[in-house]
Every structure is written in C-alpha cells, then in structure tokens.
Symmetry: D2
Subunit: 342 residues, 4 copies
Amino acid sequence: MFDSDYLEGCLPEILEALQKTNFEQTSGYGNDKYCEKAAEIIRKLCAREDADIHFMVGGTQTNQTVIASILRPYQGVICADTGHINVHETGAVEMTGHKVLALSAQEGKITAKQIEKTIESHYREDGPEHMVQPAMAYISFPTEKGTLYTLSELESISKTCQKHHIPLFIDGARLGYGLSSPKCDVTLQDIARLSDVFYIGGTKQGALFGEAVVFCNRNLSVDYRYFIKQHGAMLAKGRLLGMQFQTLLENGLYFEVARRADLLALEIRKAFEEKGYKMFTDSYTNQQFPILPNETIKKLKENFSFENWVKVDEKRTAVRFCTSWATTQEQVQTLIQEIKTL
Amino acid sequence: MFDSDYLEGCLPEILEALQKTNFEQTSGYGNDKYCEKAAEIIRKLCAREDADIHFMVGGTQTNQTVIASILRPYQGVICADTGHINVHETGAVEMTGHKVLALSAQEGKITAKQIEKTIESHYREDGPEHMVQPAMAYISFPTEKGTLYTLSELESISKTCQKHHIPLFIDGARLGYGLSSPKCDVTLQDIARLSDVFYIGGTKQGALFGEAVVFCNRNLSVDYRYFIKQHGAMLAKGRLLGMQFQTLLENGLYFEVARRADLLALEIRKAFEEKGYKMFTDSYTNQQFPILPNETIKKLKENFSFENWVKVDEKRTAVRFCTSWATTQEQVQTLIQEIKTL
Amino acid sequence: MFDSDYLEGCLPEILEALQKTNFEQTSGYGNDKYCEKAAEIIRKLCAREDADIHFMVGGTQTNQTVIASILRPYQGVICADTGHINVHETGAVEMTGHKVLALSAQEGKITAKQIEKTIESHYREDGPEHMVQPAMAYISFPTEKGTLYTLSELESISKTCQKHHIPLFIDGARLGYGLSSPKCDVTLQDIARLSDVFYIGGTKQGALFGEAVVFCNRNLSVDYRYFIKQHGAMLAKGRLLGMQFQTLLENGLYFEVARRADLLALEIRKAFEEKGYKMFTDSYTNQQFPILPNETIKKLKENFSFENWVKVDEKRTAVRFCTSWATTQEQVQTLIQEIKTL
Amino acid sequence: MFDSDYLEGCLPEILEALQKTNFEQTSGYGNDKYCEKAAEIIRKLCAREDADIHFMVGGTQTNQTVIASILRPYQGVICADTGHINVHETGAVEMTGHKVLALSAQEGKITAKQIEKTIESHYREDGPEHMVQPAMAYISFPTEKGTLYTLSELESISKTCQKHHIPLFIDGARLGYGLSSPKCDVTLQDIARLSDVFYIGGTKQGALFGEAVVFCNRNLSVDYRYFIKQHGAMLAKGRLLGMQFQTLLENGLYFEVARRADLLALEIRKAFEEKGYKMFTDSYTNQQFPILPNETIKKLKENFSFENWVKVDEKRTAVRFCTSWATTQEQVQTLIQEIKTL
C-alpha cells in the first residue's frame, strides 16, 4: 500500500464535482468554462496574469509535447541523468527527434554550472553545426529522488538559462509534494517567476488524471494547441481536466493533501532512521528511500507493499515508500510499529 | 445540443462504478483486474479468445499509436480522403513518419478494388523503393459521414488485404452506433473476424473517455505496450479505462444506448426528408447531415445548436445533427416540431 | 540511350577541374574557396546579392532538408499530386514529420487559386488545430511532366504565397532545361525574385552530382547548416560541389548544354508529331512523352532505350524520351530516321 | 596540412577511372556493373559470399540510415560516450526517433561487460516498456581516438550481442587505417565474421566520397534500399561509388595507402615521445594526439596546421595530427625536424 502515489481513484471532492455536472453540455477539447475557470485560478495562484494554461492527461505526454513544441529539430534538452525524460519515458523525447543531453546528477539535481558548461562545450566557433544545440533545460521539482532544489539553486539555474537564451522547463508531476514540504523554501510563485514553462501535477496528487501546463513565457505557446492535437493528447471532454484542477486548487485542497502526505512520509523516515537505517536520498517529500537489508525487506513485505528501488550491494537494497493524499494515519502507524520491531 | 456526441460527462453507471471502487488500490498502467476483466468480456463478445486487448484514452492517440506500431518507416497507410487520419488529426500519422495514401472516397467509403489498384501502382519491378510502400488499410466503421460498409464490402476489403499481406485496421470511434444501426448487416464478430486490429470507441458512446483496441492478429501487438508508453498514452490509473469498458460491455449497455441514439437520429432524418430536404450522405447512424438553406439554418440555430459541415452552394449548407447516449426523446421531439414548421 | 538525363558521368570541363585541383588542400564541409566562389557567381546570376547559398548532393535530399528546415512540426507543404515529393521520394518529407498536401495538377502544374483554397479550407475559426497547417508551397520548374509555368502563373503563385505568409519553394532539379526552353518566358532572376528558396539542379545537367540551394529569403536559412549535418547531407569534401557549380555557371556552360538538349528533344517531338502521334504532355523541355502503340514501342526498343511512363489504354502507352548534355546530334538523327519509318 | 584526412581530392587512380568511363551509359541508383563488381570484390575480401553490399555517400548518412533501418521505434543503440553518433552528428540518430545509450568509454572503447550490464539494467520483469530497449551495439574501428579493439575484445562484444540477440554495427569510417596498423591483430575477415553490419570507409581513405556498407547478416537488409531512398541518400549516378570502391579494393590500393599513412603517423608520434611529450590516447593509427604546452602549439602552428582537440589543463592541450593517403614523406620529415627543435 506504499507502492506509489497513484494506487487509488481520486479525492472524493473530484468525484462529487463530476457527479454534479455530469449532464451539463459543454464544448469539447478544452474550450469550456471549467478549463477557463481553472486557468484563471492558476494564474492568480502563480501571480502570472499573462500565463497561458493548457491541460494534459499525463506526465510523459506533457513532457513530450512541451519539449517537442519548443525545440527546433537539431536542438536538444539538458537534464539530469536520473531525469524522468532520460530514463523512464521509453525515449518519448527522442521519438520526436530530439537528443536528451543527460548530465551527471547529485541527489537527482543538476547545477547552473553544469548547464553552462554543457552549452559551452556544444559550441565551436568553426562549426557548431556538428553537434546538437542545447536549447532547453529540464529539471524536476521535486526530483525523481524526492529531493528539492533550494530557491537559490533555482535562481542560479534560471539566470544561466536566461543568459544563454534557453527556456527552463520544470516537471512538476509531484509539484505539490515539493512545495508543501517543511524543508522547501520555494513557492509556487517562485516556480512561475523562474521558469518559462512548468506543470502542476494532478495524477499523483489526488486527481483521476491530469497535468496543468503553465507557460509563463507566452512566446513559447502560440501554437501549442496544434501540438496537443498532433500528439493525440487533446481530450475530447476537456472539461474533465478543468473541473479537476478547479476542485483541487480553488480552496487549497491540493496543497493540504500534499502537506499531509509529506508529513506522513517524514514520520516513516524518522522511524527508519531511529532504527539506524540510512536513507538512499535526502528526501523531505512523499517518497522515502531507506536502505534495508534484503532479509528485512522480505520480512516487511509480508505485511506491507512497497517497491524495490536500487540494489545497493549484495546484501542491501534501497526501497521506496510512497505516501499520498489517500494514505491514512492508521496505515502509517501500523508500519511504524513494525519498523520498531525490526 | 446536437453539436456532437461528447457534450456531456458519461453514463451514470460509469460514475457509479468509479464511486464504488474509488478507494481500492490497484497496480497502475493497465495491469489491473478491471482491465483484465474488460479484456475478457471483449474477447468473448468478439469470439476471439486469442485477441490482445489494450485500452487507450482517445481516438487520434489510438490511430497514431496503432499505425506507428505496425508500419516500417518507409511504409504508408491507405485510407479514404475523408478519413479522420487524413483530415482531422493534424498530421498525427505523418508525425510518426508515415505517409497517408488517401483515396477518393464515395460516401466516406473506399473499395477493395481501389486498395488493390493503389498497392499495384506503388510497385515497380525495377525499383519499388522510390515510392512509399502501402502496407496497411485504414477504414472507419461507421465512416466520418455516418455511412456503413456492408458485410460484403468488408469481406472484399479484408480479402484484398490478406491477398497482399497488409493488415486491415478499423477505426471504431463510433463502432456501437454503426453496429446498432437498423441498416447494418455486420456484427461485432464480423469486425473481429475480418480485421487485424480495430477499436471499440468509448469517448463518443457514454464513457468519460476511452477506446478499446482489439488486436485480432496477435503478431501485430507483441511490443505494443512500448508504443503506448513512448507515445505518452499510458494512463497511470489504467483501471479507469478497464472499469469503464467493463461497465459498458458486460450487460449490453453500450449497444443499447447506441441503438437508442441511432433511432432518435433517424427520426430527425425522417422529419427533414418529409419536409423535402435532401441529405448530404446516406447515414443510418447517429450523425445526420441534412442540406438546408442558409436562412433555415439561421432560424433553427435560434433554438438548437448543431454544426455547419460543408458549404454545398452559395445558398445551402450541409449541417450535422448528432444524437448520443445522452440525447432525450424530448429534445428530439422539440426539434421535430420545429422542423415541421420550416 | 534516351532513358534518363543521368546515364553518363559528367561534362569534361568538370573532370578537368577536379584533376587540376586534386592535390590542393581545403577545409571540409563546404567552408572552402570553391563553394564561396560558386555562391558568389550564383548571387550575381540571380541578382540577389543577399542570397544564402548551400550545396547539396541530390534532389530528394535537398527537398527533404529544405522542407524540414522551414516547417514547424504540425505544418504541411502544398504541392501537385504529381510532384516529386509526393510520388517518388519514398515519403522522405513525411519521414521528417510533415504532411504533403497534394493538389490535383493539370499538366503537372497547380494554380494560385488552388493554393489559396487549400489554405482557406484548412482554417476554422473555432479550432484550426485539428488540421495540418499549410505552410509552404512546393512547385517544380520545369514540372515532372516537362511543362513550364509561365511568368504570369509564377507571379500569381508568388503573390498568393506572400499574401498568406507562406514561403514558395521551387524544385529546380532540371532548372536549366526549363529556363533554356524556347517556350520559356521566365528568367533565373524571375525565379530568384518570386521564390523564397529554390535550387539549381546539377545532377541531371552535367555534374557528377550536386544541387545548389538558393535561399532568397535569408530568414529561412539561419540554421540551415545544422539541418544539412543532421540529415547526413554534409559532404566532407564540400569543395567538390563548389567546384562543379563554378565550372557549370561561370561561363554559361550550364545553360548552353541545357539549350542544346532542349532543341534536340524538340526535334524528337516534331518527328513523332509529324507521324501523327499525340504527346502525353505539352513539354518544351528535355523530356518528351509521346503516346505510342505498344507494338511500336516494342519495335523502337530493338534499337533505342527509353522508359515506359504511363499506360494510356489497353493498346497505347506514354513513353519518355530524355535528352541531356551528353546526347549527340547523331543519336537523335538515327532515332528520327527510325521514327519516320514507323 | 595535418588537419584531417579529407583535405585533398582523391587518389589519382580514381580520377583516372572516372575519366576512362565518363561517357559510358549505365543505369542509375546503384544498379550498375561497377557497383556489382565492387560488391563482388568486397564479398571475396570478407570471405562472406552471402553479404549484401550497399554504397552510401558519407559517414553520418550511413550511420543514420543503417541504424534507422534496423531498430524498432522504441529501441535504442548502445555506444561509447565518445562515439561519433553520440557527439558529432547533430543528433542524426535521434532525428530518426532513437535514443543513443552512451556508455562511459575508456580510450574510446566500450566492453562486452558494459554492454551486458546496460541490456540488463533496461529490463524489468514488471514493465520493461517504461524504458528504451537497447537493441543494437555500435562501435568504431578504429575509435574516434585512434585506438583499436583487440581481436579478443571484439570476440567478447560479438558474443555478448549474439547472446542477447542484438546486432553489432561497426563504424569503419577509417577501417583501413585500423586494419593496416602494425598493432592490429584483427583482419577484415574478422570484422565481417564478428559483426552483423559494418562499413568500409572511403571518404577518409582516398575516395572523393563513399562508404561501403556490408550487411553480413542479410536478414537486416531486406528493405534497405527503401531506407537509402527515403533518407535522400540514393546517389543518382550510383556508379561513381561502385567505381571508386572497385579501384580502391581490387588491387589492394586501399590497404597500401592506409598502411603508409599509419607508419607516417607513428613516426610523428615517436618524434613527440622522444621529446618527452605524452600522448592523449594510445593510438597506433593515422591520428595522433600529443599533449602539448599551449605555447608550443602556437609555435608549431606558424608552419604547420593541425586541430586543437581537448583542453587538458590551463597550460596544455591535446592536439590532433592526421596523416592520410596524400601525406608525403617530406611533409612528415619537415614536421619531425621542427619537433626536434622544440
């Protein structure tokens, strides 16, 4: 039951909204009042009245479509070697013709300096055209390892991107869990101020599905609807997306449930640490990666489910415990009791 | 309110199923019991115990992914010039590198003979490699104009495809409306017997979203999940698709509501014909295309909504009236009363 | 010996130039003095001092690379249904993700009006993103059928393209044969004035290989070298291209040999017409397409080689006789003698 | 004059062959007697009577076309991070939709073990479809750093590829320089026995241009001509390629000139080493990479030209000296004299 943050359906408030509006008739393809309303809420929360908002169904789809819409054919996207687009999207970016320029990450993160060096190393005065042109930076917030960029790190990266005239794209599949973490010094408005485009993940935070793409830099989105359609990503009943984000965001539900999940995750972390287990990454969000002896894992799996993440050595494995909007205090307490007996 | 067949949410039975199962935990990505159950039902209904079933979110996505998964890079897909993939998918097929070989259609349909001629004309003994190789036929059932292939036409097309070793792919975005038409002499089992791959459309027939792809020819689907993922089309909470198709198909709901919509559409057709209006296409399904004087259209639009389809001449336009699972007898009667007064 | 215009090696002047410069050392990839010199000559001949010139190896490569460099992913290129990119390039344009929007051609030509209508029909106020966006017009001069656009036709097409802000691309694989035809009222400077990008074909007009791409609209070529490289089209010893075009163009050799080939072709045409044979197309360039009885073809093939082009009816076939820079007066006279005896 | 191995035109024997056959008429597109003859010679030299041979114009084009013809869309190619396809082809492989899976190389080489580990790490029992499938290994012989795989290394790599049913592709852009090195224990027949497909580079070894692709595994090449055409890589006057390879290979000219260039390069290496300079890589082929103080480089560049390769530290840079079929004994002696004075 700690396998992932998309094991259940959705927040009851969302089902309720679907129920209540089911027989209303609206235009298709995202041209409806729910999408409009959700976009308006997002613009306000981001303090970006000029932002252009589009709703997509899933994360890989969003990454692929946003990147394909921005890069020219010979350009590539810089990212962490552990980045989702580099590892777990079956080459979705390459499918659209673009190289992923993967940099060696520390705790899932890359630095402004690495980005700068990559840009410089791909430029030769006498023939830059023999190499892919780095033309976008992609980072995840939080990262695939649950870690967070600090505000200062984000500002450096943003500045470097601006200096080299390349857009910064932030994958926010778990954005809420990141922003709600007690260790986070970044706000949604910072994200909107420092990136050119980012998204607010719904799928992993209580929606049935859905990611809200926010183009802070409107120059980048003038023809984005063409890309949505061409990628088979235009939901006929687009209102389903608008309605979910309206429900999540208009009264703070999104951040409330994320905060709760983070705190539950940190209780799990604490329990492991108190027993002397090391953590694979320094995560303060809803994913925790303790390194456990293989026998301990076997024992814990008798009563709990969670994913094996990375083999650390012959005897130990890093595993992942995920909390979500649906995780209960009881589930966590039962787990903690068991950890104490290890 | 007759604009399209995806104006509302979904059949109440589907919302009910979502509600009832909301807190169950299942694996993601379509590896869950609901998808398994729905696949089993489909295999039975199709009398194809060996069929391989996959669930997708929307029609363009399905067309793009299925075609890309089957063709080699230098191959193309034969279709009607009015076919959805040729006209209304923003080049989604070409995006994956393949030419759409569009044939001049009659009433939205192409013939076995046209397909054969196309294959032959693309082959030259001394250098076939200078032309795209036609390697798949795509037809829609019903067509984009609401018309239906007869069983005999389908059998000819299927035979021609087999003779030339190219798969036949049937776009069933509105399959239920087709199979349930009083003029249809084709069954679901015929579709499954005569095609290599087809899909059962959910989006336009009462689901929130969803298309069930049926690979009758299993050789074609061995690596299909890679394509789903790479196209950003793998729904994290895949069970939403399985659950919807289970609900639609296990007790015949899907065909029941389609039949009802077809009959309502035919009442509308009859009303127009009785007033002497010609129909743009000979449709016996849920889409009706009367040719109306522009002034009449203007008048009708005061109380009813429907789409302008094609300009026929300076004074007349073919329009589209669409019924759906959600259309009520009252709505149709009110429309018919108005038609009578024209 | 009348099969095509690329049966032999090259003009002796070119071999001579290669010989003379063989041991010179130059930079690779087109950054050499020969390419520079050839570009300069072309700019002068075109009276476009601002044109950006690039040299490519072959026609399909040039079409694919130019089109891919200009279109955005969801855009398509308008062309004649008989256009080379639509029929004989194995989907090279689609391979790069773009739809070829093929219009019904007359004598290999399309009109300004057809282009305009296509642009308009692909635009819908309430959702243009469901269709490919026509964003370029491609025509061949002369056409694949040997015919020529008149200056007035070219001006109309150019004006329409400008009106709709789409570039006009002219495939000049046989440009010399076109411009040198006695029936041609268009000059090289007209081509350069009326198009945004075009190319001067070398392969079919006496070079070993090579096409000189002329970007009259420099905005279109800022990153073209990236595309050349990415398409595997950047010749290491780029000087071979520059040297050939320098040789062809600096003293008018290119047009001289084309003129000669055209006149020889017209003698062949005249011989057929005097015997009462109809021509398949009204060509005044180096390709002639007489319609001959199948028996006559068989007889002629005993002593001459030429291509069967299109089956006209059960008894007759249009064939192609091609002259080139290498065709001799003797070969043509022998053929004409034989025609007279038919 | 030591900048690269493609500064001059071509071996005089090739120009002579072009001259002698210039007015012969042959079929286009590689269907001619010269290509046939060259293929026959290659098959004999390789002792692979069943090999399928195709001629291409350049290296990037060859890499792109071969890889695209073999991989399915969701598959990737394993290579060294220093591999030409990873670094210097402007994303030509990604352009066709495929991920390049770059492994950390030692001296430009990767190992069988690395390949195996990569394949294993991309497979998960519960969902391999979330990652690109490694489906080909690409290595260069000699490598981009001038180094050579030993026979034993090649045999291990080949065995690993076979075990995992993935083809091995060897980039032989400088194959002759590799096979002719005094330190090489691999023969052309080994290359042909151990790889599924490889090519014999002409461009950098005395041809005007041209790479001969040898499919040892014929299953991989059944539709290769479609790919050549679709990639704009089918030379109209294909005989130019056949004729060059016939000239190079029928009397051993290719290996003779490569051997000579290697020995000259090794003299240069020796001269640097005798003066105490370290080499950046342990190359025994025609490229030598001494690490020199920046001042020394400046001084040497007064009389000689060569490329700066990699900055080693603040004071030193690795540079590249390239010999070729055209390098003379005199040029090398003059350089060596200068080195002695450093």
